[in-house]
Structure formats: structure tokens, C-alpha cells
């Protein structure tokens, strides 16, 4: 298959290691997620904890897409992160893997839409937007978000968009700036 040709052993290992780092960081903030859920549950906004932290869960995708600039890297990065989280004993079981695929495709779309040619604020923001839309659509089906009243639905969407923009947009760009300044990503 052709899409595999662009990948070399070193890139594969780098991507896997970065995804594992992210997987470990996701796993470290699970207590925070649980704390937020407990705090928000009495007012019936427990699921909002997921929207608040969504940006963190999906970071690996845009970062991998931006860093490797190979078709499929965003999906693969996110998928590997979720595999690690699942085997480390994250709380969601198989659905972690499905979320990983959904999130990966979401962030991939942003780069696909620019033809894998543009790597700047615009493509990153586009990726943030597609990630938010795709993952939100998935939660409408899976977690029954489509049954919420429109006001709450919009609020949850906005929370998720802001969170994704902060973590997968601003933070990823800051990380990329650090990497570019260090000249460590010189062409291999």
C-alpha cells in the first residue's frame, strides 16, 4: 500500500514514542477529569468535563500532523495515543480506540483540506475546527448529546471549540515554535 511508503522506521518510532508520551500525559490527567466530573455532576453538567478537557485528549493528532507532514500522521498519532491509554488502563475500554480513530480523522481532515501543503496558523485552525465538529458529531450519537436543548448543546460545542483551540491550536503552535527554534527538525 502506498500510504505506508512515506514512512521510515525512525519516523514510525518517533511518532509512536510521542504518542506514548501523550498517552501517558492523558492518563495522568484522568484524576482531573474525574474531579471535574464530580464537581459538575450536581448541576447536571458532568459530561461537560469531557468538553472542557477535549483539547488535551486530541492534541497528539494536530501535533503529529503538523510535525511529520505526511498524510495519515494525525490519525496515526491519535490512534497510537489511544492504544497506549487503553492498555495503560484508561477507563473507557474499547471506546477509547474508537474515540482515537474519530479524533484522528477529525484532525486529519484539517490538513487534508489544505492538501497537506500548508502548515501554518490557518491549517492548524482548520484542523482544530474539523476536530471539534467531528468529535462533537460523534458524541451527539454516542453520548446522547443530540437530546440536549439547543442552548446547552451550543454551550457544550463552544466549550469544546475553545478547549480544542487552546490545546490543539495555541499549545501545539507554541510547541512547534520551540521545536523550530531548536532546529531539531532539520530535514532528514
Amino acid at each position: 500500500m502506498n500510504i505506508f511508503k512515506a514512512w521510515h522506521l525512525r519516523d514510525i518510532i518517533t511518532l509512536a514514542l510521542i504518542s506514548i508520551f501523550f498517552g501517558v500525559i492523558y492518563w495522568v490527567i484522568i484524576p482531573l477529569y474525574n474531579g471535574l466530573t464530580i464537581a459538575l455532576t450536581p448541576i447536571g453538567l458532568g459530561p461537560a468535563a469531557n468538553d472542557i478537557l477535549m483539547g488535551v485528549w486530541v492534541m497528539a493528532g494536530p501535533l503529529a500532523g503538523y510535525m511529520f507532514r505526511i498524510a495519515g500522521s494525525a490519525t496515526l498519532g491519535e490512534l497510537l495515543g489511544s492504544v497506549v491509554e487503553m492498555f495503560l488502563g484508561g477507563q473507557w475500554g474499547a471506546s477509547t480506540l474508537i474515540s482515537g480513530i474519530v479524533q484522528g480523522i477529525g484532525s486529519e481532515l484539517g490538513f487534508t483540506l489544505t492538501g497537506y501543503k500548508l502548515y501554518n496558523w490557518f491549517s492548524l485552525s482548520l484542523s482544530v475546527f474539523t476536530t471539534t465538529v467531528v468529535t462533537f458529531g460523534w458524541d451527539m450519537i454516542r453520548n446522547g448529546y443530540n437530546k440536549y436543548h439547543i442552548g446547552l448543546l451550543l454551550t457544550l460545542f463552544l466549550i469544546r471549540l475553545v478547549s480544542t483551540f487552546f490545546f490543539s491550536g495555541v499549545l501545539v503552535k507554541l510547541i512547534m515554535n520551540l521545536l523550530e527554534k531548536s532546529h531539531i527538525l532539520a530535514p532528514r
Partner: protein, 218 residues
């Protein structure tokens, strides 16, 4: 059951129950997975944890649906049992197989290119080291009076630096041990997919469809 087949089965079931609206079938899946886990002698402590883990999200979603929607008890029950079904069905795939078995099986049975299989394996073997490295990065930061939060770019920057270093070493080590990309490999341990695995795979899916669409289960 072959790890690749098992993973595919768990994924298909999880995707399907995401769209269906039957709490009793969700419960049957939980029960079936539970029997499977007990039959292959998974540690009781791990099984017990599976009951505890989904409780918080389940309570959260129940209260949220109750307060913010006008949905029936049936719908809420579907969402709650769905969470449990995800966790239990997924555990049949993860608790009964190691990551290594899964990757080797994906290489031999699911045509995953071997550079990915061995690249992943090499990287996944570093998981304990990576957990350690995250702790080191954070304490090194604290020594300089910098607290690394999960929103600090430098935490990720340092993690990526470590990844680049290690991947260089690992890739060179593999190459020097004779690993060549895109070349057909032979295998010392050949992983077969026994024929009955296909029948079991098909049978489980057929029974699930029958339960979902041919019986009046709520």
C-alpha cells in the same frame, strides 16, 4: 481466539452498540464479556475494577440527562448500560491479550507492514521508561522553580526531544541487528488463525444482530 480477530470483533460490537438503543442487549454484552473474562481466568481484582470504573461517568450522564433533557428512563438506561458495555467488551480484547501479542498478530494476520509492527513494539517497550521520563522532566523543572503543568509547552517540547533521541538510537540498534524496511520477513513463531475463530467471530455477530433486530428485547 486470535488477537487480531478479537480486537476487530470488540471494535465492531462497540461501534454497533453506539448506534443501537437496547439496554438489555447492552447488559447481555456485559454479561457475555464477564463470562468470557472469568472463563480465561482474568484476575478477579481486574474484573472488579471494571464495575467501578464506569460508575462516575454513568452517574454524571444520568443526572445530566435527567436535568437537561426530557428523555425517558429507557433512553438514560441505554446510555448508562452502553458505557458498561464499552468497558466490558473492550476488556475482553485488552485484558486477555498483551500489546505484544496483538502487534505480532496484526503483522502476520492483518498485513500490518513489519516496519510498523517492530517500530511500535520497540517504542511500546519503552512505556515504563517514558512514564519515568515524564516524572523526571517535571522534577527537573521543579528544581529550577518551574512547575510543569499539562498546559506547559516546555513539558511537551522536552518529551518530543527525548522521543527524537530515543527513536534515533532505537532505529539504529534495529538496523544494526539486521532489520531492513520493506523486506519480507520470515517468522520463528507463526501465528495462525484457526478456522473455528472465523466461525466464532461470525456466530457472535449473527447472535448480536438477532438479539438487536429479531427479538422484542427492550
Amino acid at each position: 481466539m486470535n488477537p487480531s480477530i478479537k480486537m476487530l470483533l470488540a471494535l465492531l460490537i462497540a461501534v454497533e452498540v453506539s448506534f443501537t438503543q437496547s439496554w438489555s442487549v447492552n447488559l447481555i454484552l456485559v454479561l457475555g464479556s464477564l463470562i468470557w473474562l472469568i472463563a480465561v481466568k482474568v484476575a478477579p481484582r481486574k474484573i472488579g475494577l471494571l464495575f467501578l470504573v464506569p460508575i462516575l461517568p454513568a452517574i454524571a450522564i444520568t443526572i445530566s440527562m435527567y436535568l437537561w433533557t426530557d428523555q425517558s428512563v429507557h433512553f438514560i438506561l441505554v446510555l448508562v448500560t452502553r458505557i458498561f458495555a464499552y468497558v466490558f467488551v473492550g476488556s475482553v480484547a485488552t485484558l486477555t491479550t498483551t500489546l505484544q501479542e496483538l502487534i505480532l498478530s496484526l503483522e502476520q494476520n492483518a498485513k500490518l507492514p513489519s516496519k510498523f509492527a517492530y517500530g511500535f513494539l520497540g517504542a511500546f517497550n519503552l512505556i515504563p521508561k517514558i512514564i519515568n521520563e515524564v516524572a523526571i522532566i517535571r522534577s527537573a523543572g521543579r528544581m529550577r522553580n518551574q512547575t510543569m503543568h499539562f498546559w506547559s509547552p516546555s513539558l511537551y517540547f522536552k518529551a518530543i526531544l527525548a522521543s527524537l533521541n530515543w527513536s534515533e538510537n532505537l532505529a539504529e540498534a534495529m538496523t544494526s541487528h539486521g532489520f531492513v524496511e520493506d523486506v519480507r520477513r520470515t517468522h520463528y513463531r507463526i501465528i495462525h488463525v484457526p478456522h473455528h475463530n472465523y466461525y466464532e467471530f461470525g456466530a457472535i455477530l449473527v447472535v448480536l444482530q438477532l438479539l438487536l433486530f429479531a427479538t422484542p428485547l427492550p
